[in-house]
Amino acid sequence: MMELTVNSSEQFVIDTEKNEVSEYKLQITPRSRSAVIITVQGTKSARLDLDVSVGDSSDFTLLVINHNEAELEINERYSLYAYSKTVVAHCDLNGYDATVNSDYAFKEEGASLLVQTASLTSGKVRFNQNCIHEAGNSEAHVNNYGVVLAHGNCDMVVKNTIVKGAHGSSTHQTSRLLTYDKTSVGKILPVLYIYDNDVAASHAASLGQPDSDQLYYLQSRGLSYGEALKLIIIGYLLPITTVISDEQLGNTLKDEIEMKVGEACSM
């Protein structure tokens, strides 16, 4: 296991040709501002384990980009301390099988979390996300956006729990899956366990094929069906770029999304 203290920006490239299992323990320094970008690439099945402790009053962003051309399993655990702000983004446009198991524990008061995922898949992708508000005045927003291409399969299981005594906490989840055609399979399971009264909680889920009225509207302006569909799919995936504060990286991700969607829609 690689143990790192993080207080600035770091980038890691994990080559699955060399590492079948990669384990990182990240200690985010209190009151620091930092960002970590992990890119997974290669052609072999692999596993990535992350154990992240976000120190009090810190501002931390983690972006995981999956370029691996084989199955990838990610297991990540976060401990969020007082008044820390954490952004976790997963971008997976590869089309290979992937599983992301995430546990977010709000250990101390005032911690906040934003999770944003974007996935474009023709394989089998599964998100299992658990947010547990153990402390008061904590805040979570979990936003999953996925497009399931032909013969693809995507499950999103999101559980948000506010324990008794975590007064003033709020927890929100949004899961949206766009199914490309009748061979695309999607499942969304939003779960809220609320054990305290003084809280706010919500979930929103949508699953289905592209909206025919939206497609018509775009076509009425001269876009072909394929161009209109491509624009709508890109729109599904682009929100991930808005949580990346690095403008250059955001533009790179946008270009990659447009390229991958272009490839998928031309198949």
Binding site: L192, D198, V199, A200, A205, Y217, Q219, S220, Y236
Partner: protein, 275 residues
């Protein structure tokens, strides 16, 4: 300049006939006001011309510049020069206005527009319709007020410069000042292109600004009376009752609207209630 020619058009939705033999000819430079009580087929006519898949043409023809419109896909109709400003423009989350508008402009060109040329053109057009410059970066119509959506339709019309524009209750949701701005911009495109227009509105104020050359009243799926701007003025002043009596018509009842039901969303907010 092209002519839109509609002959004996019959249109159904879910096996219910809405249009029952509409004849209408719109030449370049002509502005046709299309009036009628709610639910009598005005929007159906415009959306059918623009190829909305919900509407089935069971009889009749539509040609534009001699070409069979009914054989064209929706995007081909747009490229042929037809444009509809929608009564309820769609919201498309995630798609920015600028990306959408650039794609629409490029769909009408042989060569893609250069980025800087597009930005200049878009900034100028946004300014002309009195919208804030940040609209370019907002998602398409998402969170727009009713008036902003209507102005955005005009931005699209100005960028695409159609040969025949159909405006479906473009004036609804606009205050007096916004109405004037929208009308001025519509007339600006009209002067530049000499396009034909079909305008659906319930309000004489908009017609006073646009000055239609023709007016028609659609009742029970048929055009029952045609005239000029004076007809629009008379209807604004006196309503449809005189016409219904004159023509010995019986208004068909509208079917109740079926509301969509959304599943899968819930929210809890019990903050402040205490244990």
């Amino acid at each position: 300049m092209p002519t839109l020619e509609i002959k004996n058009l019959h249109v159904s939705v879910e096996n219910k006939e809405i249009l029952k033999g509409v004849d209408l000819t719109v030449n370049a430079g002509e502005i046709h006001a299309l009036m009628g009580p709610n639910g009598n087929g005005k929007s159906t006519l415009l959306l059918t011309i623009m190829g909305h898949p919900k509407y089935t043409v069971t009889e009749g023809s539509i040609t534009f510049d001699g070409n069979d419109v009914l054989q064209m896909s929706v995007d081909q109709r747009s490229k042929a020069g037809l444009f509809i400003a929608m009564q309820n423009p769609q919201e498309v989350p995630g798609v920015t206005n600028s990306d959408f508008l650039k794609a629409a402009v490029n769909a009408h060109r042989e060569q893609p527009i250069r980025l800087f040329e597009f930005i200049r053109l878009l900034d100028k057009t946004i300014d002309e319709v009195g919208m804030k410059s940040d609209m370019a970066h907002r998602f398409l119509n998402e969170g727009f007020s009713g008036g902003e959506k209507k102005r955005n339709e005009i931005i699209q019309m100005k960028l695409l410069k159609p040969q025949l524009a159909m405006l479906d209750e473009l004036d609804s949701g606009l205050d007096v000042d916004a109405l004037k701005i929208v009308a001025d911009n519509v007339l600006d495109v009209y002067k530049q292109t000499n396009m034909g227009m079909i305008i659906v509105s319930h309000y004489e104020r908009f017609y006073e600004l646009i000055r239609p050359t023709h007016a028609h009243v659609l009742v029970n799926g048929r055009i029952v009376k045609s005239g000029d701007h004076e007809l629009a003025r008379k209807i604004d002043a006196e309503g449809y009752e005189w016409l219904i009596q004159e023509q010995n018509l019986v208004l068909e009842e509208e079917e109740p609207v079926r509301r969509a039901v959304s599943l899968g969303t819930c929210a809890a907010n019990v903050r402040g209630k205490g244990e």
